[in-house]
C-alpha cells in the first residue's frame, strides 16, 4: 500500500495539479483538430492531447485530459501551455527531459514526461494524417 506522498512532488507539479491548464476537449471531427491518446489503463496512465491548428500551421489551441498520477497530470498540463502559439515543427521538438526538468520530476516519475512527449507526437501525427486524407478527398 502506498501512503500519501505528495511530499515528493515539487511546487510546479502541485501548481499544475491544483490548477491544471487547458483541461477539456476539442471537436475531434474538425479536420483542423489532431488528437493523441497514449498510455494504457492497466499501466495507470492514459493521456489524451488535442491540438487545433490554424493558418500557417500555428497551434491555436491545445486541450488535455489525463488519467494518471499528479506528475502525469502536470506533464500534460505543461505541454498544452507550451504548444500554444507554436508551429507544428516547433511543438514536435518537445523533449521529455525538458518537461521532467521544468517540473523537477523525481526519477520514478520520469515516465510521465515520456508519455507527455508521446502524446504531443501522437496529436501532431493525427492532425497530419487528417490533412493528408482531406487533400486526397
Amino acid at each position: 500500500m502506498v501512503m500519501q506522498n505528495y511530499g515528493v512532488y515539487g511546487d510546479k507539479v502541485m501548481d499544475h495539479y491544483e490548477h491544471p491548464r487547458n483541461v477539456g476537449s476539442l471537436d475531434k471531427e474538425d479536420p483542423n483538430v489532431g488528437s493523441g491518446l497514449v498510455g494504457s489503463p492497466s499501466c495507470g496512465d492514459v493521456m489524451r492531447l488535442q491540438i487545433k491548428v490554424g493558418a500557417g500551421g500555428i497551434i491555436e489551441d491545445a486541450k488535455f485530459k489525463t488519467y494518471g498520477c499528479g506528475s502525469a497530470i502536470a506533464s500534460s498540463s505543461l505541454v498544452t501551455e507550451w504548444m500554444k502559439g507554436k508551429t507544428l515543427n516547433e511543438a514536435a521538438q518537445v523533449k521529455n527531459a525538458t518537461i521532467a526538468q521544468e517540473l523537477a520530476l523525481p526519477p520514478v516519475k520520469v515516465h510521465c514526461s515520456v508519455l507527455a512527449e508521446d502524446a504531443v507526437k501522437a496529436a501532431i501525427n493525427n492532425y497530419k494524417e487528417k490533412q493528408h486524407r482531406e487533400k486526397e478527398v
Partner: protein, 404 residues
C-alpha cells in the same frame, strides 16, 4: 477536527493515552528501568514482574497461557520466527509449506528465502472474494507438508479467513498451522483453545500499543518446537534472545488489557463508522468494493473508483490520511499484488483506496471524508479521458492501448 483525518488504522494506530502513561513509568531513574533478566536486585525483579503481568495480559487476549507468549520486535519478526523456526526444526520431516498469494510480505518474503534453503512453497490463489477455499488447501497438502501459514485478516482488503476450518484440516493431517493475526487482534475475537492454531503472530501497534513490539504465540498444548532465528542470552525460553524492552512490553500488555476489556464496543464503533462511510460513498457511480463485504473485518473498506487513478486521488484528498493500491513508480506503474491476486483488473487496482477506521474515528470525520471523496472523484473524472470513453459507452477492452 484534526486534519488530515486519520483513516489509516490498518497501517498503525496512535498509542492509547492510558498506554503511553503507563509506559513512561518504565524508563527513567525514578521508574522501573531495570533489566528483567537481572536476578540479583530489586530493579530487575520489579521489571521482571511488570513483564510477567504484561505477558499475562497478552496471553489473556487470545486465551493462551503466559508461557506460550514469546515477545518479538513485532508481527514481521513473529512471522519470520514462526515460519523459519518451524521449517528449520522440522526439515527432516518434510520440506513443503503452504501459504497464500495475498499474505503479508513478512510471510511471502520469508517463504521466498526458505525456497533458497531448499524448501518447496505452494502459494494458493484466493477466490475473487479474497477467501481461500478449504478444498484448495486440502488439494495442496502433500506427505511432506510441515506447515500452513494463512493470515486471519488481510491488511488491504480486510477479508476474514475461516481459520477454525483451516486449522481443523491442518491438525487432521498432522500439519502445523501458523496464523498472522496482526490485523485481527482487537477486531476479531480469537480463542486459541477453541481455534486449532499452533503459532499466532501479534503486533502491538495495530491495537493502540507502541511500535517495535509484538509477540508470537507458540502453543505448548500440544507442544510446538521451533529453532530460534535470533541467538544470544537464551531469553524467551531460548526462542528469542535479546534484553526484553520493558517499557514496550508494558505498553503492549496495557494495550491488550484495554482491548480485551473494550473489545465489543471497539468492534461496534468501527463497524458503525465503516458502514457510515460505505453508505456515504455508495452513491458514487462506477465504484467497486474489493474483497468480500460479509466476511470482512469491522474497520476496513477498500474501494476502487473507476477511471480515477489512486495516487492522483490521494493528492486530491489532502484532508484524509488513507492509502492506495496504486504505486506509480519506475518504468510503469505497479498495482497492489493483493488486488491482482484476487483478480481485480489492473485499471481498477490502480483506482483503489483503502480506508480503515479505529477507536478515535468520529461521525463528523466520516462525513467530512465522504464529502472530500465525492469532490475529489468528480474533479478527477472531469479530467479523465477514460471517464469520457465510459460515458460515451466505449468498451475499453476494444481500444488498442500502447504498451500492451
Amino acid at each position: 477536527m484534526k486534519l488530515p483525518i486519520y483513516l489509516d488504522y490498518s497501517a498503525t494506530c496512535p498509542v492509547d493515552e492510558r498506554v503511553a502513561k503507563k509506559m513512561m513509568q518504565y524508563l527513567t531513574m525514578d521508574g522501573t528501568f531495570g533489566n528483567p533478566a537481572s536476578r540479583s536486585h530489586t530493579y530487575g525483579w520489579q521489571a521482571a514482574e511488570a513483564v510477567d503481568d504484561a505477558r499475562t495480559y497478552v496471553a489473556q487476549m487470545i486465551n493462551a497461557q503466559a508461557n506460550e507468549i514469546v515477545f518479538t520486535s513485532g508481527a514481521t519478526e513473529s512471522d519470520n520466527l514462526a515460519i523459519t523456526g518451524v521449517a528449520r526444526r522440522h526439515k527432516k520431516k518434510g520440506k513443503h509449506i503452504i501459504t497464500s498469494a495475498t499474505e503479508h510480505k513478512a510471510v511471502l518474503d520469508t517463504c521466498k528465502s526458505l525456497e533458497n534453503e531448499g524448501f518447496d512453497v505452494t502459494y494458493l490463489i484466493p477466490e475473487k472474494s479474497g477467501l481461500i477455499k478449504l478444498e484448495n488447501i486440502e488439494a495442496a497438502v502433500r506427505d511432506d507438508t510441515i506447515l500452513v501459514s494463512i493470515m486471519h485478516v488481510n491488511n488491504e482488503i480486510g477479508t476474514v479467513q475461516n481459520i477454525d476450518a483451516i486449522g481443523a484440516l491442518c491438525h487432521s493431517k498432522g500439519i502445523l498451522f501458523h496464523v498472522d493475526c496482526a490485523q485481527s487482534i482487537g477486531k476479531v475475537p480469537l480463542d486459541v483453545r477453541h481455534t486449532p492454531v499452533d503459532l499466532v503472530s501479534i503486533s502491538a501497534h495495530k491495537v493502540y500499543g507502541p511500535k517495535g513490539i509484538g509477540a508470537l504465540f507458540v502453543s505448548r498444548h500440544p507442544r510446538v518446537d521451533l529453532d530460534p532465528i535470533i541467538h544470544g542470552g537464551g531469553h524467551e525460553r531460548g526462542m528469542r534472545s535479546g534484553t526484553l524492552a520493558t517499557h514496550q512490553i508494558v505498553g503492549f500488555g496495557e494495550a491488550m488489557r484495554i482491548a480485551k476489556q473494550e473489545l465489543s464496543q471497539d468492534i461496534e464503533h468501527m463497524r458503525t463508522m465503516r458502514d457510515r462511510l460505505l453508505k456515504g460513498l455508495s452513491d458514487i457511480e462506477a465504484i467497486c468494493i474489493n474483497g468480500d463485504l460479509t466476511e470482512r473485518v469491522c474497520g476496513n473498506l477498500n474501494i476502487s473508483f473507476g477511471y480515477v487513478e489512486g495516487e492522483a486521488l490521494l493528492m486530491s484528498l489532502r484532508d484524509l490520511a488513507v492509502s492506495t493500491g496504486s504505486a506509480c513508480t519506475s518504468a510503469s506503474s505497479e498495482s497492489s499484488y493483493v488486488l491482482r491476486a484476487i483478480g481485480v483488473p489492473d485499471e481498477l487496482a490502480h483506482s483503489s483506496i483503502r480506508f480503515s477506521v479505529g477507536r478515535y474515528t468520529t461521525a463528523e470525520e466520516i462525513d467530512h471524508a465522504v464529502q472530500a471523496v465525492h469532490a475529489g472523484v468528480a474533479r478527477l473524472r472531469e479530467m479523465s479521458p477514460l471517464w469520457d470513453l465510459y460515458k460515451e459507452g466505449v468498451d475499453m477492452k476494444q481500444v488498442s492501448w500502447d504498451n500492451q
